[in-house]
């Protein structure tokens, strides 16, 4: 695969850089040509050469700022992480008096504190969901019938709920193998949660996993 890509690259570069007139070559030896864009073609917005643009042609993915994180937790779980303001400086918030730039490094300190925060809000949200009989008002198990045995959720419902959650938390639906993998993970957790008689930990754990995923803390 790598050698194929390299060959393609070389061919492309040859096409782009060669000064030889292609029509002068025999048809069999002539490489595929890139024909000029016709005059009536809609305008093409050229993108810069990534090598001349610091390796970028688009947005740089970045970590949420502390304010965005706080709002994201509130929007996705409906509740606040109680410690976020106390930890804001450690999470990177700038005060513009002594610290002039917001830090958005995804370092271990951030990961540790976010893990704590996710546990706090996710378990509280899962707790509240268990008490909520109106599915439309639930946060984590909106697509799952009320009072249903956690281990008895059918695959279709489970995947539907996981897809809903992934859009809610990340703005991206889980699909394919990854969806199946998350579904399998939930089933394992559900069995343990049922055995431990801690039902909140089933969807609560999924919530923690969603919230500590890179797709939640970056955009």
């Amino acid at each position: 695969m790598r050698s194929t890509s390299a060959s393609c690259l070389l061919a492309l570069l040859w096409v782009a850089c060669s000064s030889q007139e292609p029509d002068a070559l025999p048809a069999a030896a002539r490489p595929a040509q890139l024909e000029p864009v016709p005059v009536d073609h809609p305008p093409i917005a050229a993108l810069p050469d990534p090598e001349l643009s610091g390796g970028h042609v688009g947005r740089a993915p970045r970590r949420l700022t502390t304010a965005q994180l706080k709002a994201s937790i509130r929007v996705t779980t409906g509740r606040d992480w109680s410690q976020i303001d106390n930890l804001a400086a450690s999470l990177g918030r700038a005060d513009y008096a002594l610290v002039n730039a917001e830090a958005t490094e995804t370092n271990l300190v951030f990961a540790k504190f976010l893990d704590d925060g996710a546990r706090e809000v996710c378990l509280a949200t899962a707790d509240a969901d268990l008490k909520q009989t109106d599915a439309a008002l639930r946060i984590l198990s909106r697509e799952v019938p009320a009072n249903l045995d956690l281990t008895a959720i059918d695959e279709s419902t489970l995947q539907k709920n996981l897809t809903y959650l992934s859009i809610r938390f990340w703005g991206q639906p889980l699909t394919g193998d990854e969806l199946a993998s998350w579904s399998s993970t939930f089933k394992n957790i559900a069995v343990r949660a049922k055995a431990a008689k801690k039902p909140r930990e089933a969807w609560g754990s999924i919530c923690v996993a969603l919230m500590t995923d890179a797709r939640f803390v970056t955009y």
Partner: protein, 664 residues
């Protein structure tokens, strides 16, 4: 065309999507036309960038149902309150709008209360030494000032004389001491616990009669207890005071050094009384005798300005005064020295002082920091020309700022010239909610955020103001060119005082100094506007003081050149400091102020280009690369100009670029 095709090829390689045999039309569409991120992900990106939050599940679903994000959707987002809050955050960062580490904080002006007696409001800072004889000392919490002749309240009747002879106030009404204690910094005081008074201690042979006047009654949890106080023998300053001076009754009235040496601090310590002596012989100024703590009593007055109560409060009689000037010397009380002048006090409703719990100080820090952000917000909400943030006269006050300006508060801590005549500033009570802001039109000299106290305190010198202006609004910083040559240390040009000319320094200061002159009519390390009527370009009095060697001119010429280090300096004595080393063309900058600077920079186009770059960086998370500048900068800048510098339209343009819709 060949170049364009080359671009397309590189795009395809960069994305790793296509081989070399793909027809050009497909290449253009698949690789180099915008390949947007999925809808929900793009929505999340837009919401986080514009509203600082992700979409709710309902918003995701609504957009999914719609199938695409249109320009009208983006415009709608920019009408929401969350967008304005988000942009306030952007401008807070741009302006570094936080003066918490920039404002002076003077705890001496804070009024504290204690738990004993009538709990009067009192200052207990360093200035207590001038008022009461020792740092950290408040007034007498148990004796009402104007009841000082009440014999039942006398603390030291054996030393004070008859209560009826006491003076509660001097002829000007300035409160006099009502009780005293010996200062334990100079005296060793031992409790005479078996006695109820000093006279009782003498009668019980606990105290030698000759030391009666060196006995004082001290307050403790159980009431008043007599103490015998003698000069501290453990301290070199007082150990030498071995000789006793006696009065006609054989009581010691002073301890004297029998052989005072030139270096000895004290040659005598007199007994304490309630009498004060003029400080340095100046009538109207008072000093407590050495070794004595002399306390005035308390009075009832109207509550402080930060209190919502209407009930009178107790306060120390000195702090409770509200004089504008010292009645004897006619010196103003609205100067830094008001607290050490016994006749001044904190002013009406304690306007010159603060609450002891820092809430007033913190509220001022917050209000001063917020005002420039509100100015930017008001420009954005009105869809005005973005650069009005640099030139508008619009200002904002909440209760904290309004009462500061109107009541001339914060003497000795903050130095801010009111943006208007005090009475013309909107009247908002201090106790109004801090988020209740009132818009008003500032004076002629006001120029957007550049003349707000927040900006002036945050960037306290003319040079730092220039540096921040260049950084924030022109995207330029002052660094010497790479081929800059540092002069030889022996080079005579190192002795040039004008940094705009000094070799090595002039790489940057040739621009910084004349540009800084735009803030020439604003003080440094304060937020005072040096109005030409009050601070003329040349002041003969200051020049005469300078020539006479009185370089402070009794504190009246702090803004003028009073010392000369070269010929230019000698020719500038008595000139406003801003004019030192300035050429005639620079002087126009002083007159024009920051607004002239903004207007000039607008003509260069640099303000627009920098704003485009900053918005790009804010939304794309990285600076615009050199090649991107070729592709986008000119077009975005022209669009920004065409929309009369409408920031929302610029944001709309940036989020509409192909670059924004990709993530790499």
């Amino acid at each position: 065309m060949v170049r364009s095709t080359g671009w397309l090829v590189v795009c395809a390689v960069g994305l790793g999507l296509l081989g070399p045999l793909v027809p050009s039309r497909a290449l253009g569409q698949a690789a180099c036309e915008s390949t947007p991120v999925p809808l929900t992900r793009q929505l999340r990106q837009l919401y986080l960038d514009l509203l600082a939050r992700p979409p709710s599940i309902d918003e995701y679903r609504a957009q999914q149902a719609k199938g695409r994000i249109e320009a009208s959707d983006i415009r709608e987002l920019m009408t929401r309150e969350e967008f304005y809050t988000r942009m306030k955050g952007y401008h807070r960062a741009l302006l570094r709008a936080n003066v918490s580490a920039s404002l002076p904080t003077n705890g001496d002006t804070r009024l504290n209360t204690s738990a004993d007696g009538d709990k009067p409001l009192e200052t207990r800072g360093n200035v207590s030494a001038a008022l009461r004889g020792r740092n950290g000392t408040g007034c007498d919490h148990f004796i009402p000032q104007d009841d000082c002749k009440n014999a039942a309240l006398q603390q030291d009747p054996h030393a004070e004389g008859p209560a009826s002879a006491k003076l509660c106030r001097d002829t000007f009404g300035v409160p006099l001491p009502v009780s005293f204690d010996y200062d334990t910094a100079l005296y060793t005081c031992s409790a005479l616990t078996s006695a109820t008074s000093c006279a009782d201690a003498v009668s019980k042979n606990l105290l030698e009669p000759r030391y009666l006047l060196f006995c004082d009654m001290r307050r403790s949890a159980t009431g008043l207890t007599p103490f015998k106080c003698l000069p501290d023998k453990a301290k070199p300053t007082t150990a030498a005071l071995t000789q006793e001076e006696l009065d006609v009754d054989g009581r010691v009235t002073a301890f004297v050094n029998p052989a005072p040496a030139a270096q000895v601090a004290y040659s005598r310590l007199d007994r304490c009384t309630l009498a004060l002596s003029p400080r340095n012989g100046v009538i109207g100024s008072y000093a407590a005798p050495r070794g004595c703590i002399e306390r005035e009593g308390w009075v009832k007055v109207d509550p402080p300005f930060w209190s919502e109560s209407t009930t009178q409060v107790t306060a120390c009689a000195i702090e409770a005064q509200a004089r504008a000037v010292n009645p004897a010397t006619q010196k103003s009380c609205d100067t830094n020295n008001f607290l050490s002048d016994r006749s001044c006090g904190c002013g009406e409703r304690f306007r010159r002082c603060e609450s002891g719990d820092r809430t007033v100080y913190d509220a001022r820090v917050a209000a001063i920091s917020e005002e420039p952000v509100l100015i930017t917000d008001s420009v954005l909400r009105r869809d005005e020309d973005y650069f009005h943030i640099l030139t508008t006269r619009r200002g904002f006050v909440n209760g904290v700022l309004a009462s500061y300006y109107r009541q001339d508060q914060g003497t000795g801590v903050l130095a801010i010239t009111p943006p208007l005549a005090r009475e013309a500033v909107p009247d908002v009570p201090f106790t109004a909610p801090p988020e209740q802001w009132v818009e008003y039109l500032r004076g002629e000299n006001a120029s957007g955020v550049l003349t707000t106290p927040g900006w002036l305190y945050r960037f306290p010198t003319q040079r730092s103001r220039v540096s921040e202006f260049y950084d924030a609004f022109l995207c330029q910083s002052f660094v010497p060119p790479v081929d800059a040559i540092a002069p030889d240390p022996e080079d005579s040009c190192n002795r040039e005082n004008n940094l705009a000319k000094r070799c090595g320094c002039n790489y940057c200061h040739a621009v910084i100094e004349p540009t800084g002159a735009h803030w020439g009519r604003y003080g440094e390390r304060n937020a005072q506007f040096l109005d030409a009527a009050r601070f003329p370009k040349f002041d003969a009095k200051c020049r005469d003081c300078a020539l006479a060697g009185n370089t402070s001119c009794d504190g009246e010429c702090g803004n003028y050149v009073m010392q000369a280090y070269d010929g230019d300096g000698a020719n500038s004595l008595g000139m406003l400091k801003s004019y030192l080393y300035r050429t005639p063309s620079d002087e126009a900058n002083i007159t024009g102020g920051p607004r002239l600077l903004a207007e000039r920079m607008l003509q260069t186009g640099e303000l627009e280009r920098c704003t485009v770059k900053r918005i790009w960086q804010e939304l794309l998370g990285r600076p615009m690369a050199t090649q991107e500048e070729t592709l986008y900068l000119q077009a975005l800048t022209e669009g920004f100009v065409d929309t009369q510098h409408n920031l929302k339209r610029l944001i709309e343009s940036v989020v509409g670029t192909d670059a924004y819709r990709r993530i790499d």
